[in-house]
């Protein structure tokens, strides 16, 4: 319906030739994203804005806030996760907790919007139909970027306005809003580049997501190494820039210029690239493949592995890098406190060197575990994209039972999650062991700690199977649940969530490893739940219509 009316309105295009039709395409994009963009902006914006009053209620005196700030800054693992606390005002605490996290989420939102309206449109062939109208060469990219710009501006305004309305200084509120929205915009521009290089939207999202993961890891490593975010590692990361705006603690507006300059550079590159290629094509064109299928490509399992192996390899590589980086700084991270007496006091209270190193490693494995759920959910939902893309139907019309077909992809999801966690743990343990000159003693516990995350990941994997099998139209909700579990882990402890709320996330039931006490019970409960969810989903899938 929308496409038809948009197509009819393409004729009276105005403006420069290359941008003809941008307005119509933008309206089409906003119409298609009328649920997605408001959902992202409202959820993220209100989350940040609501944190002001939560911190106000929990830490109502300056002394409590100063105590919180000091203990957080003294702990390298917490600095690696959230960054340092720059100001112990309410706004300063909100910034500490949300600048990096919010920037990452804004980046995810923006890259999804841009890829959705550029490469995905070309991949499905829809762009061809649109571009046959009065649509300029640069119009599709411009429309996608404008859609992301609108979303990021709305986000910045909602965060700034919301925090200011809750009584925080207006300047700091909008500095935080702009830091988060600006990072989103930078990743919109980076996604625009990635979309020129790949023929598949999935790969474009993956590449931009990998860059996001990399800059987050750089920021985390930098913040673990220094207490004031001054490490070069932090400064080469856009997430580090968002943090270094230091909203409510000096408001360094000039740092926003870095985001603006980075965005401008990426935009220029994106536009140059888009002008030099044909529609539907990329700079990495498809090479010829084999004339015959290899022996491995003969059943649903071989097919699923073939379709997902690049994704698995990419995630494995990412986990290896992240594990190596965090493992390398693990030992040093616990050394760096002790600049003042208060910090030393806290340091002692936390159990000293070994306890702090263990806490750091436990935090890092916990983070790997949560990120692994993103892989697993995406891998399960591959079933859905195969189904809606009409590729499942011919396979299921062969002598392949539904369960076998589904289990092919699920094997990649379940085993893949365990494998990437194993590699992440391996790299983390090796990095730590090498820097501590004790590989044999340190590797085992760290690897075990990483693998201990697997049952919690599998619960979320099972949930994805359950939703896919029973309510396939609602598979987007899987991402909301995964995001919710990440958010519980991220802000729950600081906001002192009630225990029942913490318990909603499977990760809350895992022991803190290495260093903590591990019993079999929580693992068995989680595994049981994972099996139950997956079984329910598969039963539903066997009974429902395909397509």
């Amino acid at each position: 319906m929308t496409a038809v009316s948009a197509g009819a309105a393409l004729a009276p295009a105005r403006g420069p030739r290359h941008l003809a039709g941008t307005g119509v395409l933008l309206r089409l994009a906003l119409r298609r994203d009328r649920v997605m963009i408001p959902a992202w902006v409202l959820a993220l914006g209100l989350l940040v804005a609501a944190m002001g009053s939560s911190f106000q209620a929990l830490y109502d005196t300056a002394a409590k806030r100063a105590e919180l700030a000091a203990s957080m800054n003294a702990n390298a693992s917490l600095r690696a996760l959230y960054g340092p606390v720059f100001g112990d005002t309410i706004g300063g605490l909100v910034t500490w907790r949300m600048a990096g996290f919010g920037a990452v989420l804004a980046a995810v939102m923006s890259l999804l919007i841009v890829v959705r309206h550029t490469r995905e449109e070309e991949e499905t062939g829809r762009q061809e139909l649109l571009s046959a109208g009065m649509v300029g060469r640069r119009a599709p990219l411009t429309a996608a970027l404008l859609a992301a710009l609108i979303a990021d501006i709305a986000l910045a305004v909602l965060i700034g306005g919301g925090l200011a309305a809750s009584g925080q200084p207006a300047a700091g509120s909008f500095a935080l809003g702009l830091a988060i929205g600006g990072t989103g915009l930078l990743f919109a521009a980076l996604a625009a580049i990635a979309a020129q290089f790949t023929e598949s939207a999935r790969l474009a999202k993956g590449l931009t997501g990998a860059v996001l993961g990399l800059v987050f890891a750089l920021r985390a490593a930098g913040d673990a190494a220094t207490a004031d975010a001054s490490s070069p590692l932090t400064w080469i990361s856009p997430i580090g820039w968002a943090e270094n705006v230091r909203a409510y603690a000096g408001d360094r507006w000039w740092v926003l210029l870095l985001l603006a300059a980075g965005t401008a550079l990426a935009l220029a590159a994106g536009y140059v690239l888009t002008a030099r290629r044909d529609i539907g094509m990329s700079f990495l064109p498809a090479r010829p493949g084999p004339a015959r299928a290899p022996r491995s490509l003969s059943g649903p399992f071989g097919l699923a592995w073939r379709l997902q192996r690049t994704t698995v390899l990419g995630w494995t590589l990412g986990f290896l890098c992240a594990g190596g980086i965090f493992g390398g700084i693990a030992k040093g991270a616990a050394d760096l406190v002790g600049t003042n007496r208060q910090a030393l006091e806290i340091f002692r209270r936390m159990g000293g060197q070994q306890a702090l190193t263990d806490a750091f490693l436990a935090t890092m494995t916990g983070m790997l575990g949560m990120v692994a759920a993103i892989y697993a959910a995406g891998s399960v939902l591959r079933l859905r994209s195969e189904e809606t893309g009409d590729r499942a139907e011919p396979v299921l019309a062969c002598a392949v039972g539904r369960l076998r077909w589904a289990c092919g992809h699920l094997a990649v999801a379940y085993v893949g999650a365990a494998v990437i966690l194993a590699f992440g743990g391996l790299a983390l343990g090796l990095g730590y062991g090498v820097s501590a000159h004790d590989v044999t003693g340190r590797l085992g516990p760290v690897l075990g700690a990483a693998l201990a995350q697997v049952p919690a990941v599998w619960v979320l994997t099972g949930l994805a199977v359950c939703v896919y099998g029973l309510v396939p139209k609602a598979t987007t909700a899987v991402w909301a649940v995964v995001g919710g579990c990440l958010a519980i882990g991220w802000i729950g402890p600081a906001l002192k969530f009630p225990q029942w709320a913490m318990d909603l996330s499977p990760y809350s039931h895992l022991p803190k490893l290495p260093g903590g006490e591990a019993t079999a019970a929580p693992f068995l409960w989680l595994l049981g739940l994972a099996v139950l969810l997956a079984a329910a989903g598969l039963v539903g899938f066997r009974r429902r219509d395909i397509g």
Binding site: G289, A293, V395, L396, G547
Partner: protein, 325 residues
């Protein structure tokens, strides 16, 4: 008794119902396909052809009615059944990073093996480059990948859903010879198509469906019988009682060009032709042109009924849903 039926009947569908929400896609559809025949499956867009095929493949679960394919229940016995069935969808989507050759082999293996020599021969006849990746094939070439995989498989029943959309005329010819070869091997083919010349050339029997219901079924000869012959005649005197004769449609008469006699044009039901000719010759036939019935006319009549009298008379209860779809 049961075995006798299942050996001679490939597909037996009776009173099939399937709804999607408030849309009735199938509304008591019947379909009988004899073993060893090429059966044309026709109907306007949205009539329920693909929905029927998806039920026959066990991808959709029917709400009511019965469906048996090769004597088995397509929902419960899907896997065992699919070993003996090859399917070509109307819109073939390939994996972007798999080559055409890989997809042909994969589908063959998923059906329980394929004939390697036949595969190579088919690729050659369809002039298909098996090393190209999925994304780079045109629509016609994607179709050829699925057709090669289906024809190279050792199956008893081929279900082809508008398989020639996108094929060029040369490849159309290859497709037709492949279908003829399959029939000669004793295989059964259900062919959904809009190309009437193709149906006429290939099919032994056809079923025409409309709005989820079967409206006509039989051999082409039987169906032709139901069509009307167009007649233009110059008569010496105005015909008597021709308009009242059963089986006469659209009668017009005017003075002949030379001013002597009458020129009439009419359409006659083929089974009433004899009486019509008698009435004409009673008025002194000076010249006569008759045009035999074409399948086109038959189909157009059925297809057009959907927007014409047929809907107003028979489909009042479903008219709104059908047009909403």
């Amino acid at each position: 008794m049961t075995t006798a039926i299942s050996s001679s009947v490939a597909i037996r569908v009776a009173g099939l119902h399937k709804s999607f929400g408030r849309t009735h896609a199938l509304d008591g559809l019947d379909l009988d396909v004899e073993a060893g025949e090429v059966h044309g499956f026709l109907g306007p867009n949205g009539a329920g052809k693909s929905t029927t095929i998806r039920v026959l493949l066990g991808l959709l679960r029917a709400d009511g009615g019965t469906a048996r394919v090769l004597g088995k229940d397509p929902w419960r016995d899907a896997v065992a059944l699919h070993r003996r069935v090859a399917y070509v969808p109307g819109d073939v989507t390939l994996w972007r990073n798999l080559s055409g050759g890989e997809v042909v082999d994969l589908y063959g293996r998923l059906r329980g093996g394929l004939d390697g020599a036949r595969r190579d021969e088919l690729l050659e006849r369809f002039e298909l480059d098996p090393t190209k990746k999925g994304r780079t094939y045109s629509k016609g070439n994607r179709q050829k990948v699925a057709l090669a995989a289906a024809f190279a498989s050792d199956v008893d029943l081929l279900i082809l859903d508008e398989p020639t959309s996108g094929l060029d005329p040369l490849m159309d010819e290859v497709f037709r010879s492949c279908v003829a070869e399959e029939r000669d091997r004793g295989r059964t083919i259900l062919l959904s198509s809009h190309v009437l010349s193709e149906v006429e050339a290939l099919c032994d029997r056809v079923s025409i469906i409309r709005q989820g219901r079967t409206v006509e079924s039989g051999s082409l000869g039987q169906l032709r019988h139901l069509t009307r012959t167009s007649i233009i005649a110059e008569l010496a005197s105005p015909p008597n009682g021709l308009a009242q004769l059963p089986g006469v449609h659209g009668l017009t008469s005017q003075a002949a060009e030379d001013g002597q006699g009458v020129r009439v044009a009419l359409q006659a039901d083929t089974d009433r032709l004899d009486a019509v000719l008698r009435a004409l010759s009673a008025s002194g036939v000076r010249s006569l042109t008759s045009t035999p019935p074409t399948l086109e006319e038959l189909f157009l009549r059925h297809y057009q009924d959907e927007t014409g009298a047929g809907r107003a008379a028979g489909a009042g209860d479903r008219g709104e849903e059908a047009s909403a779809r």
